[in-house]
């Protein structure tokens, strides 16, 4: 009797829950129906669907903290353009904020900013693609929207990270190719010459280990280590061959020669295992960095920085990227920000004015920007300005000449190569494995990540 009662109570409760569930599901379907159709016409004059334009609408611009100066300069030069500046983390350190937020706006069907600065250089890989049937976020820039003269004014290869299937989806803010930094004062004092090849570099490391232990010639503790060393060795770890296809071969001779160099110099303790941004690194190596291959932004971030190595003026110098034997010199690249225009923007004219200004004008790129400008004419003036400041000794032509040496066999996929290296290689090396022994593990991790990111792996 009791059982019967309770059972009928249960079944009527179940019925109520089911009814509620059904109505909620129906609501869900209705909501989903609302999100489609964002009010943009299907065809635009510049190769992407345009929203209805209004020349008086306010530009919403997302930038990181460092780039606020660029917007201040723009507002001063263009008081007639209404700009709403929103600061965000610039998608730095793999936070992926840019993509995350745009996807939420895609889901909502509104709310996209007009212009976005990203401190990463792989955002074109997703921003150029339609996702789940939603219009691609990035506007195509090189089919009439941005002037050809502007596009062609960038340093050779500078727009590679922005280019997918021949279409340019962003403008590069700054370049970040690797060069060889060295401490000329120390090198002269020890009687060593500046290496020009990786073989010379390895010999230098051997000599330093034997004659001046405690000094280092580089660092392998950062997540961007593969971009400094493996990329410069033409290791085919990241060869993006089409918008959604990648070739990965991490056991080639090119990869092995660099891995064994890193193993040799790591064992001799002339390569730091600590990240250059850690307190350990500063404790151990302040005043002890003899040479260091690394991106051009090392100059301000590591050497000429009171909170980092703080090398006094007049000691550091810059040499061209190292090459293997008689090979052509190529180099890697670590970052370099990008500017995107939203394909959903209702004021494309003003957006164009803005990205033109922040990437090409001397007022910002030469006078204010902290990094090497990607726009060639601004870059030359920026380097001249650095030269005049007298921090570096010797001439800085290596910075300008290396800008176009970035090897194009290493691509810019949607996933982060740095994250894979940090997860699979760095902890293993810290616990005693060699780079050579980790090459195939590293390659497998890249292939796995590429696959789940929707790439066809070859």
């Amino acid at each position: 009797m009791v059982k019967l009662q309770s059972r009928s109570a249960t079944s009527s409760r179940t019925l109520r829950v089911l009814v509620a569930a059904a109505s909620v599901t129906a609501l869900g379907f209705a909501l989903a129906g609302c999100t489609s159709g964002s009010g943009s016409s299907a065809n635009g004059q510049y190769g992407f669907p345009e929203a209805t334009q209004s020349s008086s609408s306010t530009l919403t611009v997302w930038v990181d903290n460092t780039r606020v100066a660029a917007l201040d300069a723009f507002k001063k030069a263009n008081p007639d353009v209404k700009v709403d500046v929103v600061t965000y983390d610039g998608s730095a350190n793999g936070s992926n904020t840019f993509q995350t937020k745009m996807q939420l706006f895609d889901q909502a069907g509104s709310g996209w900013p007009d212009v976005v600065f990203s401190s990463q250089n792989n955002d074109a890989s997703w921003a150029s693609q339609t996702s789940n049937g939603k219009q691609a976020f990035a506007a195509v820039l090189n089919q009439g929207y941005i002037d050809d003269s502007t596009i062609s004014g960038f340093s050779a290869g500078a727009l590679d990270p922005c280019t997918v299937d021949g279409k340019v989806y962003c403008l590069r803010n700054d370049l970040a190719q690797s060069v060889l930094f060295y401490n000329k004062t120390l090198l002269d004092q020890f009687g060593y010459s500046v290496p020009t090849t990786w073989e010379d570099y390895q010999a230098l490391g051997d000599k330093v280990a034997a004659e001046h232990p405690g000094y280092i010639v580089g660092s392998v503790g950062d997540s961007f280590t593969p971009e400094i060393y493996m990329w410069a060795s033409k290791c085919q770890a990241n060869d993006v061959t089409a918008a959604r296809a990648i070739t990965v071969n991490t056991t080639s001779t090119e990869c092995q020669r660099m891995a064994s160099l890193l193993d040799d110099l790591s064992a001799k303790q002339v390569l730091s295992q600590d990240s250059v941004f850690t307190p350990e690194f500063l404790q151990k190596y302040t005043g002890k960095v003899l040479a260091m291959p690394g991106p051009v932004w090392y100059s301000g971030a590591i050497f000429n920085s009171a909170t980092a190595l703080n090398v006094p003026a007049g000691q550091m110098a810059v040499a061209a990227p190292l090459k293997w034997g008689s090979d052509d010199a190529v180099t890697g690249n670590v970052g370099g920000g990008t500017w995107f225009v939203s394909s959903h923007s209702t004021n494309l004219e003003a957006a164009k004015k803005l990205v033109d200004y922040v990437t090409t004008s001397d007022d910002y790129q030469v006078d204010l920007a902290p990094g090497l400008p990607a726009f060639a004419s601004a870059a030359a003036k920026w380097v001249a300005k650095q030269q005049a400041s007298g921090y570096f000794t010797g001439d800085l032509s290596a910075i300008t000449s290396s800008a176009s040496m970035v090897w194009n066999g290493w691509g810019y996929p949607q996933f982060s190569q740095e994250a894979i290296w940090a997860k699979t290689v760095t902890p293993a090396v810290a616990s005693g494995s060699t780079f050579s022994s980790l090459l195939s593990t590293w390659g497998d991790a890249i292939k796995n990540q590429a696959q789940v990111s929707g790439y066809k792996v070859n």
Binding site: A20, G28, D106, N132, S223, Q273, T278, E280, S431
Partner: protein, 317 residues
């Protein structure tokens, strides 16, 4: 355990029969008024549960069985998620963390609560509870930030201890094998204090007569703890287990922050919840993300059911 079901049945039967015996009596009216009041109190909670718990869960269920175009795809999303090379490792990571953490929580919280309760010096007992509780005042993210410094031999106030354990650098401290322990320590440190205070309250609730009777019968403090206090704490312990399981399976903040702070040495796909986040916001696959969430929900429900059943959480005293 053998007693639990029969006692449950007994009380259920008892209440039914007593209700049946006194129709329209004074007691029955007050019960009706009480139950009306009860319903009023519960309704506010019920509404919030519906809006923020049940509706999103149903939405997730719907997403998990449909494709990007809204069509029904059956278990395709689940198959995709199970086939993901990151899924099984993430499940193992969370499983290992849960084992280490829940066991530590069950053992140490109960032990510490018993010890604090047994301390007869009033100020000492109060001070101990206060000290245990303080770390709980730090919210999840800020406690992780604090631990980032504690775990880094270059900055840690206990760097001597870390070095003695063989950790010379931050990268070595957060080696993959240490992570379940690291996360368990962080979670224990922030969460245990609150539970100790709750257990202490529960211990206070045990009637003084029972304790006195035991003492007169010659039971020592250990015997009292094992035969009287522990059995009477059973519900509270399982309550702690249920809530901790629900929180633990959703491990997210700790590995996510550690991933950022270590520049990716701890992967951003360490836990199942992080994987769901990656699916939604990096792969723009909301359907796969929903599938992972549903799996998590099921696992948490099943594990909680075990605790509820074994702990007699819904039994009446």
């Amino acid at each position: 355990m053998t007693l639990a079901p029969s006692r449950a049945t007994r009380s259920a039967v008892g209440s039914e029969t007593s209700r049946g015996r006194q129709p329209g009596g004074r007691r029955s009216t007050s019960t009706t008024a009480q139950s009306r009041m009860g319903a009023a109190f519960v309704s506010a909670y019920g509404l919030l549960l519906l809006i923020f718990g049940i509706v999103p869960a149903i939405y997730a269920l719907w997403l998990s069985v449909t494709g990007p175009d809204g069509s029904f795809v059956g278990v395709d999303n689940f198959v995709q998620v199970f086939g993901d090379y990151r899924f099984i490792p993430a499940v193992l990571h969370v499983g290992l963390f849960l084992v280490v953490w829940i066991v530590a929580l069950l053992v140490f919280v109960v032990l510490l609560a018993l010890v604090v309760h047994a301390v007869s010096v009033r100020w000492l007992s109060t001070a101990a509870r206060f000290v245990f509780y303080i770390p709980g005042a730090l919210a999840g993210a800020s406690s992780v930030l604090l631990w980032l410094f504690v775990l880094n031999p270059a900055a840690s106030p206990v760097s001597g201890l870390l070095n003695a354990l063989g950790f010379e650098s931050f990268v070595q401290t957060i080696a993959p094998g240490n992570l379940p322990g690291v996360f368990a320590v962080i979670a224990f440190w922030t969460g245990a204090g609150g539970w100790i205070v709750i257990m202490y309250g529960a211990l206070n609730n045990i009637s003084a007569e029972i304790m006195e009777a035991a003492r007169i019968d010659g039971a020592n403090p250990v015997q009292i703890a094992v035969h009287i206090q522990l059995p009477m704490l059973r519900k509270w312990i399982s309550y702690m287990g249920v809530l901790s399981l629900a929180a633990g399976t959703q491990l997210f903040v700790e590995p996510q922050l550690l991933s950022q702070a270590s520049n990716g040495i701890v992967g951003n796909d360490y836990s199942v919840n992080q994987l769901a986040y990656l699916y939604a916001f990096q792969q723009s696959n909301f359907h796969g993300s929903a599938a992972i969430s549903i799996i998590l929900l099921l696992i948490a429900l099943v594990l909680s059911a075990v605790f509820v059943a074994r702990g007699g959480l819904f039994e009446k005293d």
